[in-house]
């Protein structure tokens, strides 16, 4: 199996992206997938290391481990304590960023590319990935801060609504599980250490480099990162989420505005249906000021400052979501308008004119998706992490151009079933 994979990746190595962005790809000797964009314009280097180590991999009964493991990496590692890590990074003008979401744990280094800056910066990056200490005192402090943050979040309508929405969409699936103050309180530093040992390995990693270095240096840097990681295997995914039955959840809150979430689990990364859904959703609620939802809910009625819809493809079926906030006394009316707009769209799809407008924006704005190293990094890292085709960016515009009204209607009817929609309202009257 391993040889087969290597061969498959070797085939990809020769391919390079067009459209001005050349993403080079290889597998490092230690088995990490590597993605590299050489960009010599600015004397800087970005390195991002992604692991399939997001909250979906939290062990049963221990939600919060993935997030705390990620945030604990740079709070002491190898011979450096947390202060030394922060001070040494600051001394050379480097930054460490990243975080953990449902799918992914990421660590991102931005450094000047001159050798005397980048080498010490990379040394710290390797250190925090290879040998995090997870010291007990620091862990207890961070637990207390996390618990306080969770309690604070549970006073905010948007957090209450978001958590209830995900719990209702993904019953029995890790995407629906939430850390609680109690679950965090019960964790130990050993939970973090074993999570790190299990998931922060080369087979479970993709490494993305963008910036002012040669291919040869990129190979060396990537292998330097991969070689010191714990040995192990790629993460195994849980069973795909099942579609829950539609329902309505109303939660109390004293806010002046009701926060409304409508949606259901829809589509995963790499699904070919994503393109019709993306193009269709532009007209529905994805096109900012020009979408139907914006016109009906905001412009015509003044019901909301913000109203939107989107598909968020994830490793497994990510949500389709409509969201808005409105004065609580008119929440029922606003929901009705949003549902009517959705129903109309499901029946008719976009008009020919709307389809053209959607394509014009989505293809025309393509250069804006790639006009900085930061954006190149985000794109190349996503292609790497989710295993999208290496020519994903080259294909992007053509795939959008090819979408028809019938494809949009078919895809929407497959994924957005009105009877299955979950509606969560916080601060409902």
């Amino acid at each position: 199996m391993k040889n087969l994979l290597t061969a498959a990746f070797a085939l990809l190595v020769a391919q390079t992206a067009l459209a001005g962005v050349k993403i080079e790809h290889w597998v490092s000797p230690s088995g990490a997938r590597v993605y590299f964009v050489e960009s010599r314009v600015l004397p800087m280097l970005d390195v991002q290391v992604d692991f399939a180590a997001g909250s979906m991999f939290d062990p049963e009964g221990k939600p919060g481990v993935a997030a705390l493991t990620r945030s604990g990496l740079d709070l002491g590692a190898g011979k450096r304590n947390e202060t030394e890590i922060a001070e040494q990074l600051a001394d050379i003008g480097a930054n460490l960023g990243g975080g953990a979401d449902t799918d992914r744990a990421s660590i991102a280094l931005r450094t000047l590319s001159a050798r005397d800056k980048r080498e010490p910066a990379l040394d710290i990056l390797r250190n925090v990935l290879h040998a995090p200490r997870f010291e007990n005192d620091i862990f207890e402090r961070e637990k207390a801060r996390t618990i306080a943050g969770l309690k604070e979040a549970m006073t905010r309508p948007e957090s209450i609504g978001g958590k209830a929405f995900w719990a209702a969409m993904y019953p029995g699936h890790p995407y629906g599980r939430q850390a609680t103050p109690e679950s965090i309180a019960s964790l130990t530093r050993d939970d973090l250490a074993s999570f790190h040992a299990r998931y922060y390995n080369a087979a479970n990693a993709s490494i993305t480099l963008v910036g002012d270095i040669s291919r040869k240096d990129a190979e060396k840097i990537a292998e330097g990162i991969a070689a010191g990681l714990p040995k192990g295997e790629a993460a195994t995914l849980p069973a795909a989420p099942e579609a829950p039955a539609g329902r309505t959840v109303k939660l109390p809150h004293p806010a002046t505005q009701a926060h409304v979430y409508i949606g259901l689990p829809a589509v995963e990364r790499g699904n070919p249906d994503y393109f019709p859904l993306l193009v269709g959703n532009y007209t529905l609620g994805g096109g900012g000021f020009v979408s139907r939802l914006m016109k009906e809910v905001r412009d015509k009625r003044g019901f909301a400052y913000s109203v939107y819809s989107y598909f968020a493809p994830m490793r497994q079926s990510g949500p389709f979501q409509i969201g808005l906030q409105t004065k609580r006394s008119q929440a029922g009316e606003a929901i009705k308008v949003a549902r009517d707009v959705l129903d109309g769209f499901l029946k008719e799809g976009p008009s020919d004119e709307e389809l053209l407008a959607a394509k014009a924006n989505l293809t025309g704005s393509f250069p804006l998706r790639l006009d900085s190293n930061k954006k190149l990094l985000d794109n190349a890292a996503a292609i790497g992490f989710f295993g999208l085709p290496l020519d994903y960016l080259d294909q992007y515009q053509a795939k959008i151009e090819a979408v028809t009204v019938d494809q949009i209607k078919a895809a929407f009817s497959r994924y957005v079933r009105p009877a299955d929609l979950i509606t969560v309202t916080v601060a409902a009257d």
Partner: protein, 452 residues
């Protein structure tokens, strides 16, 4: 230390080009300035139009009108119908939006470079030809009220900040919120918005910043073609509204549904007026970096990590503005600690700087970070346009941006200590405390000490 090795980056040829031959500038006959920064990294461009008019130019009873007008700017002209502006930007594959601050109102579009001319044409059209339709206004003012509910009324921290500013400033218009008091929004009319537009939206009260893969000569010609024919007029003279000196600490508490208390300590602080002659704002900026510039900076190290008196803590100080300056310390106490404990701990940290000063390694570290961030800043065309626009809005010519960086690099430890002694004084302090309330209205925690 590594300062010596970092400095060559600032002097590298590519940066010299960026800093000196570029940006380019011209002024049209009607008084409109055009500033172009060529950056050929990708085939895209950003246009920003900045009006030298913000909420500080409003009067009591009409707070929020600058921001409401910003919303109305998307509602059409005789040649571009309501909603059409956004549609045309979207069709061009672009993104657009606008923002209103105390000091300015600005509009931007990010587009593929070949669409820039269309954007110039659109912005020029609405600079002098806006329709402020009464029916559109009636809908849009409701949207703004929803925006206020979302951003401020239902956001405890924002509410605290709004109330605190209204106390810290008593005469200066900075006391009014940018989004406006709700009652002022309720009584505002289309005529108020139109009067605002007619008075202030003229080429001689604006400047255009364009960054991207463009040729400045071509941009100047396009600007002449589209913005050139617009007529300006004299601007009303505004009266100076100087904040009277503060003599003694002011304290305020705000109740709102929340879990954590929040403390904000705002000190009146100097503002950069002359980039060459002033020195104190640079020293205060350096002090902020030493206290809060990175994870191991003093505040985080001592208050969050070692003493665990705070869950989080930070400083905000912006030395560029049209009006008076403030330096804010803010944070939330950890479980079992009170805002009074946090205030005492912050005061101890300030007293330490006042007594002992700061170390050379700390100063060098802050400077190294600043230098590196100059390189990182060039990664974003939007960020570069913002920097030029904001500097100009504060009355500092963008040509001084490099000079400001030089002056920052020259700040000494003695200067940092001197500003800490001079400006962290109770006489000009305003303290704001968020007193968290349970969601169900029943008391949950013992009362938070807000006064001593």
């Amino acid at each position: 230390m590594r300062m010596q090795q970092l400095i060559p980056f600032l002097l590298a040829p590519w940066l010299l080009t960026a800093a000196h031959a570029n940006p380019y500038e011209t002024t049209l006959q009607n008084g409109l300035r055009i500033i172009v920064k060529e950056d050929r990294r990708a085939p895209t461009a950003v246009q920003m139009v900045w009006y030298r008019i913000g909420s500080m130019d409003e009067v009591d009873g009409a707070s929020g009108v600058a921001h409401v007008l910003e919303h109305m700017m998307f509602k059409g002209t005789p040649s571009v119908g309501p909603g059409e502006f956004n549609k045309r930007v979207a069709a061009a594959g672009g993104r657009d939006n606008a923002f209103t601050s105390r000091d300015y109102t600005a509009y931007f579009q990010q587009v593929p470079k070949e669409k820039l001319e269309d954007m110039i044409q659109l912005e020029a059209d609405r600079m002098r030809h806006l329709n402020v339709d009464a029916k559109e206004f009636t809908q849009e003012i409701k949207v703004v009220m929803e925006e206020r509910r979302m951003r401020t009324d239902d956001n405890p921290q924002a509410k605290l900040f709004e109330q605190m500013n209204a106390v810290a400033f008593q005469a200066h218009p900075y006391r009014r919120p940018i989004i406006g008091w709700m009652n002022d929004l309720e009584t505002m009319t289309a005529a108020d918005a139109k009067a605002w537009y007619d008075t202030w939206y003229v080429p001689n009260n604006a400047y255009v910043v364009i960054t991207g893969d463009v040729d400045h000569k071509e941009i100047f010609a396009l600007a002449e073609k589209y913005y050139g024919p617009l007529e300006g007029h004299a601007l009303p003279r505004s009266k100076p509204q100087i904040e009277p000196a503060q003599h003694g600490t002011r304290r305020i508490s705000v109740k709102a549904p929340a879990e954590l208390p929040v403390l904000i300590m705002g000190y009146k602080a100097p503002i950069l007026r002359d980039a060459d002659r002033d020195s104190e704002p640079y020293a205060l900026e350096m002090l902020s970096a030493i206290l809060d510039g990175h994870d191991a900076a003093r505040f985080n190290k001592k208050l969050v990590r070692e003493d665990q008196v705070a869950l989080s803590v930070g400083i905000d100080y912006d030395p560029t503005a049209r009006g008076p300056g403030m330096l804010y310390l803010h944070g939330s106490p950890s479980e079992g600690k009170t805002v009074a404990d946090l205030e005492a701990a912050l005061r101890d940290e300030i007293a330490r700087v006042q007594k002992e000063g700061v170390s050379e390694p700390e100063l060098k570290r802050a400077k190294a970070q600043l230098l590196a961030s100059q390189v990182y800043k060039l990664d974003s065309m939007f960020g570069q346009a913002m920097e030029i626009g904001q500097t100009e809005s504060a009355g500092i010519p963008y040509q001084k941006i490099d000079r400001m960086l030089e002056k920052l690099q020259k700040v000494s430890a003695a200067e940092v200590q001197a500003v800490a002694r001079k400006y962290f004084t109770d006489d000009t302090l305003t303290v704001g405390v968020l007193d968290p309330q349970p969601l169900d209205g029943k008391p949950r925690r013992p009362g938070v000490a807000t006064r001593h």
